[in-house]
């Protein structure tokens, strides 16, 4: 039986192209995004795990004030592997900085991405830096007046996200990269810094215990650990996981939101079709067709639609995986050793739309077929009943045009819901990029804490008169909560290098312990509260009582007077580890652990901002596509439902403008509501996202919705609406006067 009836399906699709093509596009986009994102994140996780395992990623790295002798003894005593991880920073052609490492044997081994491994006189560098600075394999680079030949492009497991400083937020491949040279070559360059990588041999808890004993032993031998970073706190390694988790969340939420939207759309379109075909269904009943036969026939519409769109979308997603992985592994400096198309993701991508749309279709079809054959033949099921809301709404005092438009929205709640949610989703996506940009801009502008231009951190304690503003710093782990890391600064009480204030804009004196706002928010701190910290370098517990909370969002930090800081950590009296300065200082390189200029931060931000523009553009394009599709479909549905009304208006003498104004403008309020609904949605989703970022980084941004961007977003949404109206005018013009003269109510 199905065969004959099913011949209609293709014809029905052809006769009602707009809603079906729109559903098709939405489902396809949803499956494309779902497959691409989830395959991408799955592959990235696997690649990152195998890279870290196969190339022996460290468990921690640390810097001491003295050289560690007899490494093998330490290793056997604490069941750990230690390797010197010496490096220095070198400016290439008086511009970008290349961090040069000595080739390691056991930990943090390099992976060759292109070219060959090192032999004497060779250098291998990271690909993004090479590309940004137009360095090719075979080129020569001068390092400290010695010429090296680039033999290959590499990745390092401890520099997956190549940040210059661990506290940096953004990578800047134009200005920072890393390289490895042979041990013999490296020996030619003396270094005063004692850097080491360490990895435990036993389980995680055993390693933790062994490392704590190791730190104590160092202290007992009067070797100070100047800096200690566990791999879990190393953003060069962990940032990739945080960002993959972010992509995974977005990659699941957006496609599902699009799918839900499409279900509402398909349900509405199917319901309209059933209403239109009530007479035909009644006749088929009368001939002898059963309810289940008719149900099967009508279910073929959502099944065919979702299956064809999801298969194509999933295939496109699979095709997009390789170029995406190539881009991602290039960004994250990981070798691309293989790809995996996880069957469960592919199956989910195909099945989700199928199940969702079939379920929606089934509900709608069973409801449509509830009426008796006689009712269907008489078209009673086609005569829609007035809904509860329509009946309740009182519009007495409003003008006719307003009443008409409001009633039009109440006429089909699913249709209005589809428009409202569609516009809200499009608005959220559209403003997503804009708001991230303006939040970042505002974060950069408001980052007025730092008044210095250069920061120098030494590789050993300094004493005596400082050539700038002295400070010290140490890493700690919070004893509360999930043990997040934070930095405590010891600062000069009269410092002018940083500026902290209270919520009312009053500058602080630096004679007490100050916690920044993000830290206070995380721990619900108020002045007078104490917090317990575990020293990263000595694993000891310290208690700090906070005197003031600074209204500053530069990160989760504690500032305290330098003398108090030295006293607490038993550091030498009047010693310091760093200098802040407004001018560039000539400090011998072998004395430095790191040097940073604020200008570098600005450069990194500018480079990041340029990359962000691309993401922003893509998100906006997707938003525009969704918005346009949703508005176009709803306008088409409104016109379809109002064919008779439009024709009748023409008969009554309404001119084109009046008809267009009433019919096409009827959704204007809902489009505006959808836009307004999108703003809190955006706020909630971005706040959640920023909170997630803040948990894994020191980067605390506040959601800043810029009025100009809001206005721009509103204009874009109305441009979508306006273009749809322009397209629809022609259709309204085509509706014949005779439509009103046909029998029937609707």
């Amino acid at each position: 039986m199905g065969m004959i009836l099913d011949r209609r399906i293709k014809r029905t699709f052809a006769a009602n192209k707009a809603p079906y093509i729109s559903s098709f596009i939405l489902i396809m986009a949803s499956c494309l995004l779902f497959t691409t994102f989830l395959l991408l994140t799955g592959n990235m996780k696997a690649l990152s795990d195998s890279f870290k395992h196969d190339y022996a990623l460290e468990d921690a790295h640390f810097t001491t004030d003295k050289k560690l002798d007899g490494l093998s003894e330490w290793e056997s005593a604490y069941r750990i592997r230690i390797e010197e991880s010496a490096y220095f920073d070198e400016e290439i052609q008086h511009g970008p900085v290349l961090r040069v490492f000595a080739e390691s044997e056991s930990l943090n081994r390099y992976a060759v991405r292109e070219g060959r491994r090192l032999s004497g006189g060779d250098i291998v560098i990271n690909p993004t830096f090479a590309k940004a600075n137009q360095i090719r394999i075979g080129d020569s680079i001068r390092i400290k007046d010695v010429s090296f030949k680039v033999s290959g492009l590499i990745s390092l497991p401890n520099y997956i996200y190549p940040l210059k400083k661990e506290s940096d937020l953004l990578i800047d491949e134009n200005n920072f990269g890393f390289a490895v040279i042979g041990k013999e070559d490296y020996a030619r360059f003396p270094s005063g810094t004692h850097d080491y990588s360490v990895r435990g041999a036993g389980s995680e808890s055993e390693t933790d215990r062994n490392l704590a004993h190791f730190k104590s032993a160092l202290k007992d031998r009067n070797i100070a650990i100047l800096q200690w970073t566990d791999v879990a706190d190393n953003p060069r390694v962990t940032r990739v996981a945080a960002e993959i988790a972010g992509i995974e969340t977005v990659g699941s939420i957006i496609p599902i939101a699009i799918l839900l939207l499409t279900s509402v759309l398909t349900g509405t379109v199917l319901w309209r079709m059933l209403q239109r075909e009530a007479g035909m269904m009644g006749t088929l009943y009368a001939i002898g067709y059963t309810k289940s036969e008719l149900t099967r026939h009508y279910l073929k519409y959502p099944i065919l639609l979702s299956l064809s769109a999801s298969v194509i979308g999933t295939l496109l997603g699979m095709a997009a995986l390789r170029p995406m992985l190539v881009t991602m592994t290039a960004n994250y400096n990981m070798p691309l050793d293989g790809m995996n198309y996880k069957v469960s993701i592919l199956l989910a991508s195909v099945m989700m739309p199928l199940i969702l749309l079939t379920a929606t279709g089934y509900t709608v079809v069973r409801r449509g077929l509830k009426s008796t054959p006689v009712e269907l033949i008489r078209g009673r099921s086609g005569t829609r009943r007035i809904g509860w809301l329509e009946r309740r709404v009182k519009l007495g005092s409003l003008g006719f045009a307003t009443k008409f438009k409001v009633r039009e929205q109440f006429r089909s709640i699913p249709r209005s819901l589809f428009l409202l949610l569609g516009v809200a989703l499009a608005t959220t996506l559209l403003l997503f990029g804009f708001t991230i940009q303006s939040s970042l801009d505002s974060w950069m502008r408001a980052d007025s804490v730092y008044k210095y231009k250069h920061e120098y951190i030494f590789n050993s304690f300094q004493q005596g008169t400082a050539p700038g503003d002295p400070f010290s710093l140490a890493s700690f782990k919070l004893k509360q909560g999930e043990g997040k890391s934070l930095t405590v600064f010891g600062i000069n009480p009269d410092t002018k290098s940083i500026y902290l204030e209270d919520g009312k804009g009053h500058a602080f004196h630096y004679d007490g312990v100050i916690a920044t706002k993000p830290l206070a928010n995380r721990l619900r701190l108020k002045p007078g509260d104490s917090i317990e910290l575990e020293g990263k370098t000595d694993s000891r517990t310290y208690t700090v009582t906070v005197d003031r909370i600074a209204d500053s969002y530069n990160g989760e930090f504690i500032y305290m007077p330098l003398a108090e800081f030295n006293d607490m950590l038993h550091y030498p009296k009047d010693s310091y580890l760093g200098i802040w300065s407004k001018d560039h200082l000539d400090i011998p390189e072998e004395k430095l652990f790191s040097a940073l200029s604020i200008e570098d931060v600005q450069k990194a931000y500018n480079s990041f901002s340029r990359r962000l523009q691309v993401v922003l553009g893509t998100t906006s394009a997707i938003a525009f596509l969704i918005g346009l599709t949703v508005i176009f479909v709803v306008t088409s549905l409104i016109m379809e439902e109002n064919k008779g009304t439009i024709s009748m208006m023409k008969v009554l003498g309404y001119n084109k403008k009046e008809v267009n104004r009433l019919i096409l403008n009827s959704s204007a309020y809902l489009v505006a509501f959808g836009f307004l609904l999108g703003i809190p949605l955006l706020f909630v989703s971005l706040s959640a996202m920023f909170r997630l970022i803040a948990q894994s980084t020191d980067f605390n941004m506040q959601v800043q919705i810029n009025f100009v961007y809001l206005l721009l977003g509103f204009v874009i949404v109305y441009v979508m609406y306006g273009s749809t109206k322009l397209l629809s005018r022609r259709k309204i013009k085509k509706i014949p006067l005779g439509e009103a003269l046909k029998p029937g109510l609707e």
């Binding site: 005569t383 829609r384 009943r385 007035i386 329509e390 009946r391 519009l395 006719f400 045009a401 009443k403 008409f404 009633r407 039009e408 109440f410 006429r411 008779g644 009304t645 009748m648 208006m649 023409k650 008969v651 009554l652 003498g653 309404y654 001119n655 009046e658 006067l737 005779g738 009103a740 003269l741 046909k742 029998p743 029937g744 109510l745 609707e746």
Partner: protein, 233 residues
Amino acid sequence: MFIQVAELRKSYPSGNTRTDVLKGISMSLEQGEIGVILGPSGSGKSTLLHILGGLDGGDSGEVRVDGVDISRLHDQQLAGYRRERIGYVFQFYNLIPNLTVGENVEVATYISKSPLALDRVLEAVGLLDKKNRFPTELSGGEQQRVAIARAVVKNPRLLLCDEPTGALDSATSRDILELLQHVNRTYGTTILIITHNTAISRMAHRVFKMKDGAILEQAVNETVISAERMEWE
């Protein structure tokens, strides 16, 4: 004459040939009169009504309504003509289902320069108490009353009714015809009704009988009777 039609012809393409729907029709109706066009399906009466209402144009001939030669009007002017001078009553009412009774009538007042008072018209059609009901909550006869109110509220010069009782039982039909007669007497509106039902011709001042695109007979009715006295055949 209020309506003056002379030698009106109209044909439609049908495959490779053309079908003549109106074959040189001539007719007239005085202002304030009720005219009835009788004829079987396919006689061309609906086409004639559509041309008089400015919904369609003839191929040749002259059509004057209220002094206006509507065969010379372009689309925009025809919309203005329908808006200012014509009221329509359809067989299947053509009400907008999600607007209340009052709002359905407002559809017409919204574009009218000098509409009649909405409540008075609703009172005249006996539906003032159902002003806030929706069409689906009314009987067929009541829905047709709303359609008549919508047509009349514009205070049109000519009311064109296409089988106004075609979907109604005889008692309700009589009510509707009484209402039309009442409109004709109260507002002086010229009314032209097309119908299969010959009984309706007794309430008309002029009767036109059509068949196969031509008027076979037109007569002036000297003994117009009130709709309530009409006998249904």
